[in-house]
Structure formats: structure tokens, C-alpha cells
């Protein structure tokens, strides 16, 4: 997570282009580096969070232990954790594409919700008209298309006008969240309920559950999505083109790539996956969208993907732990009376500590030159 000195996330690991005379930098021992940039900061973050817990009078060991027990060492907790992972994984896929291609897609929340709302509006109407698998397929495809459409304006502005996508995607995200809520209240409202919400997809028509558990099969699709995106970005010609645009647009032009077209493709794919994420949550778990529902997963997943350094497997691991943290802390909120929002503190501490670690590492490397 090379966060220094660059607004362009794709160039994050390109920042350090050091050279010396005819050879390679004498590295400090790899062990020391890992200590400064990963292990050290993670320990520091947990210690920092523990101190905060102690300050409010909670024994951090009890708390951490309880979370582990509830989320990972109980069958129900583990199932809940696995189910929670599905939408987060699709968002990881979305952000891995964007960040590796040098695009700050901060609009995943809007894309997510619009995808969710359109899937929720269509799927129940198709039940009985189409076979079950086709209903789900239509829902997913529609969500992806809607998500992608919602990114067209930022994409065009970025590709052909050079307008900063941080601002445009953020604005479109707020618009999307509000539009989704409006649609639920007006166009897609279920006439048979008093609370504004969409029609509900019957439990039997949702994504099947895995074996005898309560885990939604959305988890499998989410894992496939992240791994597929990871392989696409690292193992295919298309992925390399996207990464090249992200890391060094001038070199991409030099090699004959069309930077604007690849930028458009990045937006479409990233936003499409965000839409899919919304559909998984609806078609897999919730069944409908209530007005003003916004889990705001998008902003939350950004730090995770960053901490995983845009790596697919790394993201899956972090999403697993984060889901466990969410499930565990929801339980802890009831039993230990520590609000579940504490997870936010932990993630923020991690982010800051890892940023500092990166900074210290760069300082040391500069000194060695």
C-alpha cells in the first residue's frame, strides 16, 4: 500500500523507481521490511484499538476472544460470516479492477444500490414467467448493466475531458443512493405493503443455499468473481493493458494502447461488479429493498482492498476477517455491550498504522541510497 505522493492508485507501487550504478539496490533484510510495512502496523493497530477499549472500561482480551468465538468458532457464526462475505467480495472485484487500472471509483455505493433496486424490482415480477435460474440471471445482468450505466458520465468526463473521477463518482454515488430510494418509494413500490419497499422475492426463488447450511451460494459467486478478476488483471492481455494504463499512461500510449477506451472499459467493469454486488445481497439474502436502505459497504471495502494491495486472495482473506469482525461485533454488541461500530475504529487504526509503516519504510530506503 504505497500511499505516498500520488492520487493515482494504479501508480501506487510505481512510485519507487530507484536506480543505482549497474546493479540492484542492496535491500535491507526482507524480514525487516515485512516487519515495518505489515506485521508491525497490524500489531500496532490492534494494540491501539485495545487501548481505546481499555479506556472505555472493556477488557480487550475478553472482547477479541468473544468475537473470535462468536464469528469463527461457532457454526452459526461461521455461516453468517460466510453469507456476509458475498456482497463484499463483489465490491472487492469492482475495486480491484478500478484501482489496478488507476481509477478512483468512489461511487460503488450508488452503483450497488441501483443494481440492488433494479434487481429487486424485476425479479419478483418474473417469478412464474421464467424458470428460476433465468429469473436470477436476468436480475444479475440487469444489475450489472444498471451499475455500469450509472458510471458513464464520470467515465466519459475522465476519458475525454480529464475531469477528476474522485469528485464525479462521489457525486454520482450520492445521486444514485437518493435515486434508488426514490424509485423504491414511487415506481417500484410494492402496492401491498404500507412500509415503502419493493416486492419481495420468495425465499424459494432466491439464490440456493449451500448444502445443509444457511450460507448463501452468493459466496461462491463472489469468490469466483474476485478470483476471476484477479486472474484477469494479472494473467490476461486485457488485464495487463488496464494495469499499464493505470501505472504509466505515457508508456501505454507509447505502446499503442488507446488510453481513453481502456478507461471507459475500466469504469464499465468496475461499476458493473458493484451492481452485481447489490444483486447478490437482494437475490441471495434480503429478497427486497426497503426505502432508505444503504449498508454503505462501498466506502468500507475501499480500505480493505487497499490494505490487501489490490490482491485478489489478500482481499478475500481480509473480507473474511472483516465479515467475522462484523458478525462477532454484532453479537458482542448484545452480550458485552460494545457497539458494533468499534470495527470501524479498528479498520481506521489499521489504515493509519499501515500508512505510517509505509512512510517509515520509504524514509529508510531513501537514507540507504
Amino acid at each position: 500500500m504505497n500511499m505516498k505522493n500520488d492520487v493515482n492508485p494504479g501508480a501506487l507501487d510505481a512510485a519507487d523507481q530507484s536506480t543505482d550504478n549497474d546493479g540492484v539496490i542492496t535491500e535491507r533484510s526482507a524480514f525487516q521490511r515485512i516487519l515495518t510495512v505489515t506485521v508491525g502496523p497490524i500489531i500496532a493497530a490492534f494494540v491501539l484499538s485495545a487501548i481505546i477499549l481499555m479506556l472505555v472500561g472493556v477488557n480487550p482480551l475478553t472482547y477479541y476472544g468473544y468475537i473470535l468465538e462468536r464469528s469463527l468458532f461457532s457454526e452459526l457464526g461461521l455461516e453468517q460470516t460466510a453469507t456476509r462475505m458475498a456482497p463484499l467480495l463483489f465490491l472487492c472485484a469492482s475495486l480491484i479492477i478500478a484501482f489496478r487500472a488507476g481509477i478512483w471509483n468512489l461511487g460503488t455505493d450508488g452503483q450497488f444500490l441501483l443494481g440492488a433496486v433494479f434487481a429487486a424490482a424485476t425479479a419478483p415480477l418474473l417469478v412464474g414467467v421464467l424458470p428460476g435460474w433465468a429469473v436470477l440471471l436476468v436480475g444479475f445482468v440487469l444489475a450489472a448493466v444498471v451499475g455500469a450505466v450509472w458510471s458513464i458520465i464520470p467515465a466519459l468526463l475522465k476519458a475525454y475531458q480529464g475531469v477528476n473521477e474522485i469528485v464525479t463518482t462521489l457525486m454520482m454515488s450520492f445521486l444514485g443512493v437518493l435515486l434508488a430510494s426514490t424509485l423504491v418509494k414511487l415506481a417500484f413500490r410494492d402496492p401491498s405493503t404500507t412500509v415503502p419497499q419493493t416486492r419481495t422475492l420468495p425465499v424459494d426463488d432466491r439464490l440456493p443455499r449451500l448444502f445443509d447450511t444457511s450460507i448463501s451460494s452468493g459466496l461462491i459467486w463472489g469468490l469466483i468473481a474476485v478470483l476471476a478478476v484477479h486472474l484477469m488483471m494479472t494473467r490476461t492481455a486485457f488485464g495487463l493493458r488496464l494495469r499499464m494504463v493505470g501505472a504509466n499512461p505515457a508508456a501505454a500510449t507509447h505502446a499503442g494502447l488507446s488510453v481513453p477506451l481502456l478507461t471507459m472499459a475500466t469504469f464499465a467493469l468496475s461499476a458493473g461488479f458493484a451492481g452485481l454486488s447489490g444483486a447478490t445481497e437482494i437475490l441471495g439474502v434480503a429478497g427486497n429493498v426497503r426505502a432508505n436502505w444503504n449498508p454503505a459497504y462501498g466506502l468500507m471495502v475501499i480500505p480493505l482492498v487497499f490494505l490487501a494491495r489490490f490482491h485478489g486472495v489478500g482481499s478475500i482473506v481480509l473480507v473474511f476477517f472483516y465479515s467475522a469482525l462484523l458478525i462477532g461485533s454484532e453479537s458482542a454488541a448484545r452480550r458485552l455491550s460494545v457497539p458494533q461500530d468499534f470495527t470501524l475504529v479498528l479498520v481506521a487504526c489499521l489504515l493509519i498504522c499501515l500508512g505510517l509503516g509505509e512512510y517509515i519504510d520509504q524514509r529508510k530506503r531513501k537514507k540507504e541510497r
Binding site: K4, V7, I52, I153, V163, L179, L186, L344, A348
Partner: protein, 311 residues
């Protein structure tokens, strides 16, 4: 609709508009200065929330609204210090740290509030209001315009003072130089990092004060996550206002009025969702960006850390 236009309705509409406008006005003024100088402060939401929390806590403990406002400023500034150190001094990514700070403050305030007040949500006593003989007694506008808390007038004064500073001193030009071409300011002998640290802290103070107003005057209590995107509205206002404090004021009043109108309409039984009205400021920003594209007046170096001699 004639029945709607009663004196009480209009008066509450205007009051609601002002109450809703002041927090985003303060945040917008802060963010405006920050964006001028090239720092896109996405952590403003967190600064505002911290201000709301500290503002409420101090006011509750000291029984003084004014001490509460000081507490709010302090809360915002403390959060801003983290941002200034990490993003300006160390040059870490402004976006990631901004998002991280906001999330962290959301968690931290919820946690602290929970342990201090459990689930009791204590309220502050109703704030004392300005009472100007004659003016306050005017129909409709009297109580809503002239019977508000002193801070409302201080916020308006801030608009005037900032506008004056930007026009009459070298401040505006120095900020714009730091945002457009920091290297040019540096070689002309200006202190780019110093200015950027200052604007981050200033944004923290203003957002913190706005948050404290939201908690102490607007709601009379602290609720976790209570800012609910008001900081981001501040970012929007700052972008639409293109560097002019007066436009931030106009924007925040329109925002406040729209919010207040939808609440009033809902009370009156209309079924237009508030969301439609709330979409307007964001839609306006997008419209401006689409129309002016490349020439949209975002500072050239917005979001980029500055390091001397880096190529």
C-alpha cells in the same frame, strides 16, 4: 394549497431552513478554503461528527453552550491534526486517509457515546435565543430571522469576514497559488506546506463548529452517525461556490430551505419523497462538470501532495 401558507407554516419553514443551513454553511466555508489550497478534505465528515460529539459532551458537562462550541472546534481540529500530519507533512494519500478518518470517527464517537450515556440520549436544555425588541416581534420573519442563537449571526459574519479576507488581502491569491501551482508559490518564497496545514486545521475548526451546532442547537442531543453526509454536502457547496463565500451561504440556504420544505410538505401530506429534493445539489455539481468539463474550476493540484523538487 392556500391552507398551507399560514403564518406558522412559513415561520417554521424559514426557521427550519436556517437551522439546517448553518452546519453545512460552516463546513462548506472550511472546505472551500481547503480546496482552494489544493487539499480535497474527504475527512470533513469525520471532523464534523467529532465536533458534534465533543461539542455536545462539553456543553453537557459544563452546562454552557459556548463552551460546547469551543469543544466542537477542538474536536474538529484534533481530527484535522491527524489528517494534516499524515497527508500534508508525510504526503500520504488524501482520499484513503480521508475515508479512513471518517470511518474511524464514526466508530469512535459511537463507542464513546455508548459508554458515557449508554442508551439514554440525554438532551440539552433549549438554547437561549437572541431577542431583539421590535425585530423579533415582526410576523413570520421575526422569530425565524431575528430570534435565533447568536452562533447563526456569527456564521453569517464569517461569510463576510472570509469574503473580505479573500478580496482585500493576499490570502485568496496565496491559497489559489497553493492549489493551482504549488511549485510556483514555493519558488516565490511562499510556504506551501504551512498553508496547507493551516487550511486543513481551519476546515477542522469550521466543520467541528458546524457539527457542534448540529448537535447542540439543531437536535439538542448527540446521536451516533448524526451528521449523515452533511460534511459531503459541504464539499458539494464548496465546489459549486467556485471560491466565493457568499455563494456557499446562498447554496446552504437553498439546501436548508429544500430540506425544510420537504419536511413541511410531508407533514402537510404530500408524497414527494425528500430524496428528490436532496438530489438537487449533487445534480447541480454534475451538471456544472458536464457543461464545463475540462474548464471546471477545480484547482489543478487538488488532491496531490507537494514535495519540493519532485519531478
Amino acid at each position: 394549497m392556500g391552507g398551507l401558507l399560514t403564518e406558522a407554516f412559513l415561520s417554521s419553514l424559514l426557521t427550519g431552513a436556517i437551522v439546517a443551513a448553518i452546519p453545512v454553511l460552516l463546513a462548506g466555508l472550511g472546505e472551500q478554503m481547503s480546496e482552494k489550497a489544493g487539499v480535497l478534505n474527504i475527512g470533513i465528515e469525520g471532523m464534523m461528527l467529532m465536533g458534534a460529539y465533543m461539542g455536545f459532551l462539553v456543553a453537557f458537562e459544563t452546562n454552557s453552550l459556548w463552551m460546547g462550541f469551543l469543544g466542537g472546534i477542538l474536536g474538529g481540529v484534533l481530527t484535522a491534526v491527524v489528517m494534516a500530519v499524515l497527508c500534508v507533512r508525510l504526503g500520504l494519500n488524501q482520499i484513503v486517509i480521508g475515508i479512513g478518518l471518517t470511518l474511524g470517527v464514526e466508530g469512535l464517537t459511537a463507542l464513546l457515546h455508548h459508554f458515557q450515556f449508554s442508551r439514554t440520549y440525554p438532551r440539552l436544555p433549549a438554547p437561549e435565543r437572541l431577542n431583539i425588541p421590535w425585530l423579533t416581534d415582526l410576523p413570520i420573519i421575526g422569530p425565524s430571522l431575528f430570534g435565533r442563537h447568536m452562533l447563526v449571526y456569527l456564521a453569517l459574519l464569517a461569510v463576510v469576514v472570509l469574503a473580505m479576507l479573500y478580496r482585500r488581502t493576499n490570502l485568496g491569491m496565496t491559497l489559489r497559488a497553493a492549489g493551482e501551482r504549488p511549485a510556483a508559490l514555493d519558488v516565490a518564497g511562499g510556504n506551501v506546506l504551512g498553508i496547507r496545514v493551516f487550511v486543513v486545521l481551519f476546515t477542522g475548526a469550521m466543520a467541528g463548529l458546524g457539527g457542534a451546532y448540529l448537535a447542540n442547537i439543531g437536535a439538542g442531543l448527540f446521536i451516533p452517525f448524526m451528521t449523515g453526509g452533511a460534511g459531503f454536502i459541504g464539499i458539494v457547496l464548496a465546489m459549486l461556490a467556485r471560491g466565493r463565500p457568499l455563494w456557499v451561504l446562498i447554496g446552504s440556504l437553498i439546501f436548508g430551505a429544500a430540506l425544510s420544505l420537504t419536511t413541511a410538505l410531508q407533514v402537510a401530506g404530500s408524497n414527494i419523497p425528500t430524496d428528490v429534493i436532496q438530489m438537487l445539489p449533487f445534480a447541480a455539481v454534475m451538471l456544472v462538470l458536464v457543461l464545463y468539463g475540462r474548464r471546471a474550476k477545480l484547482p489543478a493540484a487538488l488532491g496531490a501532495a507537494y514535495e519540493r523538487g519532485a519531478r
